[in-house]
């Protein structure tokens, strides 16, 4: 191994916070040996993205670098100010989290990519177009000639990310910086993009810095891993060593928070008895649910003839990739949208297309984004008391006690009652949203990706809470998620959706450990796993 291609020493970056400045990155050291991949893992606020932006010379104007030295191949490189971009040309390129935002919507893919060799290396228009096509082939974009003439919105998310990678490679960098490159993608697309990046690295000897909140993804890519927390490095080490014998408690916490999937059984399982009749009581039954978006010839079928059976005191996972219709199905169950065909039966009674207020409140929903699901102008007490007084008809003097009781159920202190949503963290807000849902004493809870916006360490607490509510209150829960590990971890039953149809239903253990349908198997195998064995 030759010397490092990149060393960063003592990086400290501050941002304005009110009248003072706050260090969001403190004395961060990094070292990247040639032709290796360094993974950076951390939760939100860990400073991993700011560090990456400092390397790329893309810090916003409000940021101030108070200390730090960056060397590329032994030569010092400025972190801010004049010449930041020139010094990085042909050495560093970046792949961003959101490929849609990284591409110019008004330029074709081919034009955007060929612009790089034309400007950077003075290639002729014709030869730069050829280079762009070569790059699109290199990133294995199907049908590159036609895709080169397409605009970003005409490509899928995974195809866009391939185009972004092609554009990054067009600058012929020595080091590729990847900022959560697969976070916005579906799990099968994520697996393809990770595979592509691994292939590029092996063929071209590219060095890589790979930033992600997902320890499993990072471990599948990196030779060495740096763990960051609140702006500082917690621990650095070889991937295998770090995963096997973490030295710091925080690394162990992160590792424990990773929900692991067991290996998939190579043999398809023998058919199991159907779910019907196994639950103590059938709480919610949806049959032949079909939903179209749009009308006439332009109508798109979002959900097509889906049956779902939900028992009291059970958690039913609804898993699928984006566009599978799982969220639409959830909205049909809660009555937020009407099904074009099919019916929903709650405790033996058919729910009409236009539900009464009682029928609405019987099925509550937990929303994905904890930042928009609570009214920002109301305190927690106002939010809860409004429902208790107006929906449950509780007398005024009992409201306070019931509010405290609800907060206890979601393990929040009484003092939280006087707070506004803006004063709470994402995990706390999600628990307040759950308390609000419980206030009207629902029979069914539909949770739509309740932990997707949360850090892994908080995710576990929210999931445990759902399990406790199932056990203590006998709630029936529909858990909508793209995350198979989450589903496997807490669900009793699972339905796998694709293209608006359920392709497989059964107990969670059976479906995920012994999938019968090819699509389910493909989905499960695409989930990145912690790489604990030596590479």
């Amino acid at each position: 191994m030759t010397g490092p291609v990149l060393t960063l020493a003592g990086l400290t970056v501050s941002f304005p916070a009110g009248r003072e400045r706050r260090d969001v990155v403190r004395s961060v050291d990094l070292e990247l040996p040639a032709a290796t991949t360094l993974g950076i893992v951390g939760e939100s606020g860990s400073g991993k993205s700011v560090t990456l932006r400092a390397l790329m010379g893309l810090l916003p104007a409000s940021a101030r670098v108070s200390a730090g030295m960056l060397h590329l191949g032994g030569a010092p490189i400025p972190l801010v100010g004049r010449g930041v971009r020139a010094a990085r040309r042909r050495r560093l390129a970046m792949v961003f989290q959101d490929p849609a935002a990284a591409l110019d919507p008004l330029m074709t893919i081919g034009d955007q990519i060929s612009e790089v060799p034309r400007r950077a290396f003075g290639q002729s228009p014709q030869s730069s177009r050829d280079t762009a096509l070569d790059l699109l082939r290199l990133v294995r974009l199907p049908d590159p000639e036609r895709r080169a003439a397409a605009y970003p919105h005409q490509l899928s998310g995974g195809q866009r990310q391939r185009a972004v990678i092609a554009m990054a490679l067009a600058a012929r960098p020595e080091i590729l910086l990847c900022d959560e490159p697969t976070t916005a993608l579906d799990v099968t697309t994520q697996a393809e993009i990770l595979e592509l990046l691994r292939g590029l690295r092996e063929r071209s000897g590219l060095s890589m810095i790979f930033v992600s909140h997902d320890l499993a993804v990072v471990s599948s890519m990196a030779d060495r891993i740096t763990v960051m927390r609140s702006g500082a490095v917690v621990e650095s080490g070889g991937t295998t060593a770090l995963l096997h014998a973490p030295r710091e408690a925080y690394t162990r916490t992160l590792l424990n928070a990773v929900l692991e999937l067991p290996a998939v059984d190579p043999e398809p399982a023998t058919p199991m008895p159907p779910l019907v009749g196994r639950a103590a009581t059938d709480r919610l039954r949806a049959s032949d649910i079909t939903v179209f978006y749009g009308s006439g010839a332009a109508a798109v079928r979002a959900v097509g003839g889906v049956d779902l059976l939900l028992g009291a005191g059970r958690i039913h996972g609804l898993v699928g990739e984006s566009g599978s219709g799982k969220t639409t199905l959830g909205k049909v169950l809660t009555g937020q949208i009407r099904a074009d065909v099919g019916r929903v039966v709650l405790d033996g009674g058919i729910l009409p297309a236009r539900r009464s207020r009682d029928q609405l409140s019987a099925i509550q929903m937990i929303y994905q984004d904890p930042y928009s699901s609570l009214d920002p102008r109301m305190t927690v007490r106002q939010t809860l008391a409004e429902l208790l007084r107006r929906v449950c008809g509780l007398p005024r003097r009992q409201v306070e006690a019931r509010c405290v009781d609800l907060l206890e159920k979601v393990t929040l202190p009484r003092s939280a009652l006087d707070g506004y949503p803006g004063q709470f963290s994402g995990g706390q807000r999600q628990r307040i949203a759950i308390a609000r849902a419980l206030a009207v004493e629902p029979k069914v809870l539909v949770a739509d990706e309740p932990t997707s916006a949360l850090d892994v360490s908080i995710q576990a607490a929210v999931l445990d809470l759902l399990v406790r509510l199932r056990d203590d209150l006998g709630l029936a829960v529909v858990l909508i998620s793209h995350n198979l590990a989450v589903i496997r971890h807490i669900c009793d039953d699972v339905s796998v959706m694709v293209g608006g149809v359920i392709v497989e239903t059964g107990s969670a253990a059976q479906v995920i450990d012994h999938p019968r349908v090819g699509y389910t198997r493909q989905l499960i195998e695409a989930v990145p796993r912690l790489r604990k064995d030596p590479a």
């Binding site: 941002f15 929903m365 928009s372 107006r390």
Partner: protein, 285 residues
């Protein structure tokens, strides 16, 4: 990079109060409009009557007795200026507040309910907005008949549209927010959802619009007065004052200039106030 929400220990109320003291447009606008309102409301207590004629001082210059001098009938200019301001501001506020409330109500219903009501309202708004505001107001007052009631009628027909449109759009966006969906799902009545969970978030835009719109209406009232379609003499109004004194522009320039100056100052005050409120509430315009 996202800010850590847990570290934001200020409640919403505190941050709004803090922004109030840091917004220069708000402070300047509040002081200016506040002073104008105070002068206009309290001034007549001390000032001489607007109809008293001082026969020894016709067209007199500024003096200790008449701070801004007198007009050709020997009436105190400052008295008339303050009294005119009182009339013009009263008419502008009254003429606008009811159409504004009506517009907010209609816009909220259209934005929340959608459907045919929304379509009809939007087309109606398009028709009214297609005409230039001042031309439409002058034409309407001409048809309905001049004077105070004419102004009220004309503005009732025209004034509500911008409130309806701005509130309709804000409502349509807010109604999609998860907290509104959750309030409905919780089993609250539609009226409660609209008034408690939608309107407080959309009304801010209407308030900001009102503060800037009032300037437009004051100018309209004064224009009508100048054209002889507004307030009839001898009740003083800035528009009629400019008209009556227009021939003295070369000899006693302050006679027509002072009412104009008052209009500019009032307009500036309300515009600054509107900017300031928009700052404080983070309303995007």
């Amino acid at each position: 990079m996202t800010a850590d929400p847990a570290s934001d220990t200020l409640s919403r109320r505190d941050t709004v109060r803090a922004r109030m003291w840091h917004s220069r447009p708000f402070l300047a606008g509040a002081v200016l409009t506040g002073s104008i309102a105070a002068i206009v409301l309290l001034g007549p207590i001390w000032l001489p009557s607007t109809t008293d004629q001082d026969p020894v001082a016709l067209l007199a210059g500024p003096s200790a007795r008449h701070w801004l001098g007198t007009d050709q009938l020997g009436r105190d200019l400052l008295s008339r200026l303050v009294s005119a301001g009182r009339t013009d501001l009263r008419i502008a506020v009254v003429a606008l507040i009811f159409p504004a409330l009506f517009g907010v109500l209609v816009g909220t219903l259209a934005g929340y309910a959608g459907g045919w009501f929304d379509t009809v309202m939007l087309r109606l708004v398009d028709v009214v907005i297609a005409f230039p505001f001042y031309v439409l107001i002058i034409a309407l007052v001409f048809v309905v008949g001049p004077g105070e009631s004419g102004i009220y009628t004309a503005l009732a027909l025209v004034g509500w549209v911008s409130y309806a449109r701005i509130t309709r759009n804000a409502t349509a966006i807010t109604a999609q927010q998860d907290w509104v969906v959750a309030a409905r799902q919780g089993g609250l009545r539609t009226s409660r959802v609209v008034f408690r969970h939608v309107l407080p978030h959309t009304a801010t835009q209407a308030v900001v619009l009102f503060a800037s719109d009032i300037v437009v209406v004051i100018v309209a009232v004064i224009t009508l007065g100048y054209l002889g379609l507004g307030i009839a003499p001898p009740t003083p109004d800035w528009g009629t004052m400019i008209f009556e004194n227009r021939s003295f522009i070369t000899s006693k320039w302050w006679l027509p200039a002072m009412p104009g100056f008052a209009v500019v100052l009032t307009g500036l005050g309300f515009s600054l106030l509107a900017d300031g409120i928009a700052d404080i509430w983070r309303v995007r315009r």
